[in-house]
Structures are given as C-alpha cells and as structure tokens.
Symmetry: C2
Subunit: 436 residues, 2 copies
C-alpha cells in the first residue's frame, strides 16, 4: 500500500524517559506505523543536550545532534516531536518547526498552559497540526475525546485526578493513616515523587493540565494564571480521617466547570484537595493512576482512567498523535485547530460556589451548636449536616455546608476561628463529586 | 467565521429514542455546532415509518418523510445519520447515501458486525467517511481512542462490559442474591430489559460489539460469526455466591485478545460470563453502566466508563462523529478508513487459553481430592487453588485452574461430571481479569 509514497521524516526533540520510548517505538513498530499512516515514518534526527549522555535506547548512529534549532528547520523534516518540556527553548523550537512547514506533536503541558494561543496561532498560520494528547494524563485519551468525541455535546464539568504523585501520597495517607511528610517520603523512595516535589505537591502540574482541559471543554482560552491553585502539603492525617468518617476520601482535583456568571455561563477552574464520596468513580483511583471524570448534557457521566505518567505510556499518546498528524500531513489537510469561539470569562475563586466540610474543636457547653450555626447564618451559608462528637475536652462539631460562594465560606471559617467557644478549627476542606 | 460558507445538509434516518435526541440536539446546539464545524448544519429531512406516529421531538414541518431511499439520494444531502438499526433497509440506505456522495454516521452495531467490510469498501470507493462511535458502548468514546489515540501502540487485550441490560441483571444478582429470573423481571419493570430480552441476555448484542472492537483493536476483519458467544441465562445464584466467596464478581464480558496462534498472533474473540476479582476496575461498574478496559504494550491499562445506551447519550456519540465527518466533508478529505492490514486469524474457542472456576459437590470420604486432582491432571490442566468446604452431605470442592485450552478445560468438567464421587458440578465459570 505504501509503494512509491515518499517516507515521512520525523525529528525528536529530547531523549529522556519519554523521548527514548518514542524512539524505541518508532523503530520497533515501524511496520505497523507504516501501514496505519500510509507510508514509512523515518527518524530524521534526535536532538539532545549531550551526545554522550547515557540513555535508555540506542539511537542509530549519526542521528543524534545537539543542534535542535538546525534540526527543526531542515527542509526534509515533516514532523517534529517535542518532549524536552519547559518553556524555552521548547517554544522557540516549536514555532520554528511550524514556520518551516513541519507538523508538531508535543507533551509540553507547562508551555501549552502558559502560552498555548501563540502556538495555536502559529499552527493555524502555517496550515499545520499541533497535537498534544500526552500533555494531560499521560496515556489516557482525554483531549481527543473532549475535542472530537464530545464535539456535538455540551460539557458542563470536568473533574480530574491528573497528578500521579499527589494521588499516590493521598492514597497512602488514606490506606495507612500516615501524615503528609511520611507519605511524601515513601513516594520519593519509590520514584513517584521528585527530590524537589514542589511542582507536584503544590498543584502547579495539575493547574497546567486544568487550564488545558478547561480550554478544550469550554472552547475558551484559559491559561495557568487563570487557575486557582492549592496543593496538598497542608492536608493532614486529621483531614483524611475526617473524610473517612464521612465515607469520603481526599483527592487533589483539577476542576473545570461551567457556572452562571454575570454575562452568561462562565468558567470556574481550580486545583485543590477535596473530599469526594467513596461511591464516586474517582474515589477508587489508587496509587499513581490518573482519571478524568466528564459530565456533559447529553452523554451524562463519563470517566477515562489509566497511567498518567511514565515513559512508555506517554510515548503511546505521542505516537497516537503522530499517526494522525502524519496522515493529515500526507493528505495535505489538518485536524481541528484551536476552538475558542465561546470566549467565556473565568470566574474568580471567591465567586465560585463550593461546599465546605469544617471540623471544629469546641467547648462542651450548652449553646455551642447554636452559636456555630449562627456564625454560618451570618455569612448566608446554609448548613447541610452537623455531627457532634465526643464530650468535654474532646467535643467536636463537624459541619458540611450547602453551596455558597467560596468567599462566603472562607469568611465563615475566619469567623469561627475568632470565636471564644471554638478552640481550634481542625479541618477545612471543600466537598465535591456529589452526584445527586 | 462561517460567513459565505454554504451550510451542510443532514438527513436523519429513524426518529426513535436516538433519532429524536439527534434531531433535538441538532436544533438546540445549532450555534455551537456551526462554530465547531465551520458552517451551519441544517436538517434536510427525517425519514420515519409513519408520519403521524407520536415522537419525543417536534420535527419542523415538512421535514418528515416516509421515503428514506429518496431522502438519501437527494443531491443536496451532504451527511446521513442512520439510526434505524437492523440489517435492512439500513444497509441499502447507507450504501445508497455513500454512492450519492454523502458521508455517513451510524449507530448500527448489528449491521457493522455482520457486514462491515461491504460498507467500508463502499465508503472507500466513494471517498466518503463512515463513522460509527455510537455502535459500541453508547456515549463512551471508545472506537475513536482505539482507532486514533492508540494508533501508535500495540493493543493486546480489550475486556468490555458493553451490554447494560446484562450488567444490571448481574449487579442485581450480586447485590441482592436474587436468581436470574427475578433479576430479569426487575430489569424489565425498570425498562432496562425488553419484553423479549434474548438479544441482550444471550449475548448477541455484546457479540456484535465484540466483533467491532476486535476489528479495530487488531486491524483485522472480525465479524459476529467469529465471536464465541454464551449468554447469562444459565448463571445461577450459586455461581454469583461462589464468585463472592472468591472476592470476585460475575460480569458478562466481551473479550478480544491477541494470543499466539499457529501463524503468529491470532485473535481470540468471545462473549461469556466470567468471574473477575473485585479489585479489578471493571468489577465496580454498577447497574446499566458500560466500561471498556484496554491493555496495550506501551500505554498499559486504560479504562473508559459511561452510559452504554439511552437516547441522549447515544445521540452525543452520533453528533461527535457528525462534527468530524462534517469538517472532513467541508475540507474535501476523510478520516481513517478501515484498517485490516494485519489480517489476523481468529482462534477457535477450543484453542483459546482460559482459566476455569469449578465448584463440585462431592462424597465426603478419603481420597476425593486426590481423584479430582487426577481428573484435572489427565487433561493436562494444572490447578491453581483448591478449597474444601463443609463435611458430609455438604462437602464441596472449589477448584480454580491455571490457564489451559478451553477444550481441555471443558473436557475436564465433562470428566468430573461422570465420576462416582462427584454428586454434582454446581458451578462452572471462566476466570478473567487477573492483572498479575
């Protein structure tokens, strides 16, 4: 079927854990890729920082280069795979590749979340594809379903566990009762967390993915700067225990949803730990797995589950994109580009309606519940349930609110902290995933 | 963005529960669809059996017709949505639509599983698209991920819960201890099962979907006739109880996997009830939900979950396809067509390697276990675990085998049935979903 058809030449930028798996699969699956694309896909070069660095794959002699800029501007390069990560030089290389007529596949969530529109406009101008399935949730096909499968539907909410490190830590805290520091240490020992875990545990990684998911789901430009972000380093064993008592579990969620705004539907986009009921499909996502739960008007509730990171899984997503982009390149066409026509506003976190779970150590005397209830009422927050536990020095109230704005809820918590009868607010956490 | 661009005209064949939702969404989401496609998508006509039948949606006056053949051959029809179901007249109408230059979206699993290649060849010849995401697992995007997202990977196994009726019945039997007849009756009362439930409970519906999944996953032509099919009408409360004692659950699985065959990898494709561990992601798929679990070499384990049927969910999948097909139609291109280059053989069920769970009522006397073990050994079946339960008249052996061919395993069961010391073989079921 491929006779006479010119092979496509692909340049790979970066040969770390993802890049080396991309090179391996390009070689090992060459026959299948040729059959699926319609012509052979040949490696034109692999750009690395150091030629002699140890790597997981044997790159054919003569293909390694330190001149990434030269590689992407070569006339014979049809497709460029960018798996360097970070903002620069990745951005300049992608822009140069597009200007020189190549189509691009990237796994670069940070760059897309910071400056996606610049890249999309360059791809549009060049008439080339820019695909990036691997940027969110590793091997899990989620961007293509959002962009294509759900293109005839109205997505109303996306709830994602999109960071494996934090899910591993929270799962460990849930299953063993460990505190954050102890669970982090175990994650580091097992290679699930980096020596400097900031990007993961403080939610920066998840926030970049949330921005990408929100942009696609709501056909609007959402950047990392639009995302309200809270990490998990403040989550305590007491929070996790409190969740357990509510038959819930704590997860770091990337949430993107449509909410009524001043001028029609607006986008709320945020990353924070939240309690979800154990009966929710996301609750059973264990260890370092990822999952994205999507709600839409016609399809209802969908979930996509799988490995969110790792060299081979991420390479699978990259090569899936490569096959599509290569087919388009051969046919002289391109897939759907950026879709931002809806141009929805992003709602500030304070105006977003959420629900809070609050646990309070209180004095054990008459009237305490009434006073606490009064504090909620003063901020116009209605209470869904109150549980009183213990007596004397151990007296505790656990309150779950109905929906109110996040500003009202956080003001309520501040109010509680200042009350004489309140010894300590021991746990404050948002509640999500109610499917009623 | 759409100014000056000619609108696309779409014909809908069938206006039942899916068709009426398609018509509703085409109307209600017209603005969004136009922005996503690049031009307006207008209803050209809706073919129905009876003009005056009651239906869930108001079709604009003058658009209803009983002349489906005339509608699909109209020069101004660009896109045809077929949601009549069944073999004829659906096949003739789709072929006629393609011949007349329209692209086609269908939800027709039975037709695709019986005669897909005829349709794919007609689409290829016409240079038009034939998309069918809605044919398997309703709203769940599974065909597009298999066909495109995993195009750079090697899929090794697909395990699907792809029939909501049988999942509802088995879930009910598991949660309440009910027998099959009682659970079926409840499913019928709640509208999850039809008055004649044969297509669902005997696995015909799931077998059609298994054929479609196997074709896409393994790039080979697999039809419904290739699928080994067993339904759930023989599943007893004792089977479900026996699964529970193994911390497992009974599910009707559509299984498509690569297995070593005489000439390289062959395809095993089958639908039957099986016990899977409760820790498996598919075990928690409750009620009438569907889910498809995919294993591939690079991506690892993925799962896709959601509503497998229903008018609106199925319409969501149809309209997702419609947007892609419409974009391709505008651009004068087409998406990936049939991919059957691997042309793998289908392995007969008897040669497929499976594992059996067998529960046997036995005489309570010395040497029984040795005799039973000997029966397994004679058929070259190795035993993984044996559990002895009860004494006297209640003595029972529960054996779980290692993998052997299905023929060896069924011969072993026949052998056991003929043994003097065996009073009754009370439960025989395959075991799947081991993730070791």
């Amino acid at each position: 079927m491929c006779e006479g058809q010119k092979p496509l030449k692909v340049a790979v930028l970066g040969c770390g854990s993802v890049g080396s798996q991309v090179v391996r699969l390009l070689t090992e699956q060459a026959g299948d890729l040729a059959a699926r694309v319609g012509t052979r896909v040949e490696l034109a070069g692999v750009a690395v920082r150091r030629i002699d660095a140890p790597r997981e794959v044997d790159v054919p002699e003569g293909l390694l280069t330190t001149d990434a800029a030269g590689l992407v501007s070569r006339d014979d390069v049809d497709l460029v795979i960018e798996v360097i990560g970070g903002i620069e030089p990745a951005r300049s290389l992608i822009l140069s590749a597009l200007e020189h007529g190549a189509s691009v596949v990237t796994a670069n969530k940070a760059l897309l979340a910071e400056d996606g529109p610049t890249l999309f406009e360059a791809a549009e101008k060049a008439g080339r594809d820019l695909y990036y399935e691997a940027a969110v949730a590793g091997a899990i096909p989620i961007l293509r379903p959002l962009r294509e499968s759900l293109a005839g539907d109205k997505v109303t909410r996306v709830l994602g566990i999109v960071n494996g490190t934090t899910n591993f830590i929270l799962d460990k805290m849930d299953s063993s009762g460990a505190g954050f520091a102890e669970a982090l240490e175990e994650a580091q020992e097992l290679g699930y967390a980096e020596a400097d875990p900031t990007a993961d545990v403080e939610g920066f990684d998840a926030a970049a993915k949330a921005a990408i998911l929100a942009s696609l789901a709501f056909h609007s430009r959402v950047t990392a700067a639009d995302v309200h972000r809270e990490g998990i380093s403040e989550v305590t064993a007491a929070d996790v225990q409190s969740a357990r008592e509510m038959n819930s579990v704590v997860k770091l969620l990337a949430i993107a949803e449509l909410r009524p705004g001043p001028d029609g539907d607006a986008v709320s986009v945020r990353v924070h730990p939240a309690m979800i009921p154990r009966s929710h499909p996301l609750a059973s996502v264990r260890e370092a797995y990822n999952a994205v739960f999507v709600e839409s008007e016609a399809a209802g509730q969908l979930m996509f589950y799988g490995p969110g990171a790792g060299g081979a899984p991420t390479a699978s997503a990259v090569l899936g994109d490569l096959v599509t982009v290569a087919r388009n390149h051969l046919a002289g066409t391109r897939g759907p580009g950026e879709s931002a026509y809806a141009d929805r506003a992003v709602l500030p976190m304070g105006e977003t309606r959420t629900r809070y779970h609050v646990a309070i150590d209180v004095d054990d005397r008459a009237g305490v519940l009434a006073s606490v209830a009064q504090a909620f009422a003063e901020h116009d927050v209605s209470i869904q349930t109150v549980r009183q536990e213990g007596r004397g020095d151990d007296a505790q109230l656990v309150v779950v609110s109905h929906e109110a704005t996040d500003a009202q809820l956080s003001a309520t918590v501040e109010h509680l902290r200042g009350m004489d009868i309140v010894r300590e607010v021991t746990s404050v956490m948002r509640v999500e995933g109610d499917t009623e």
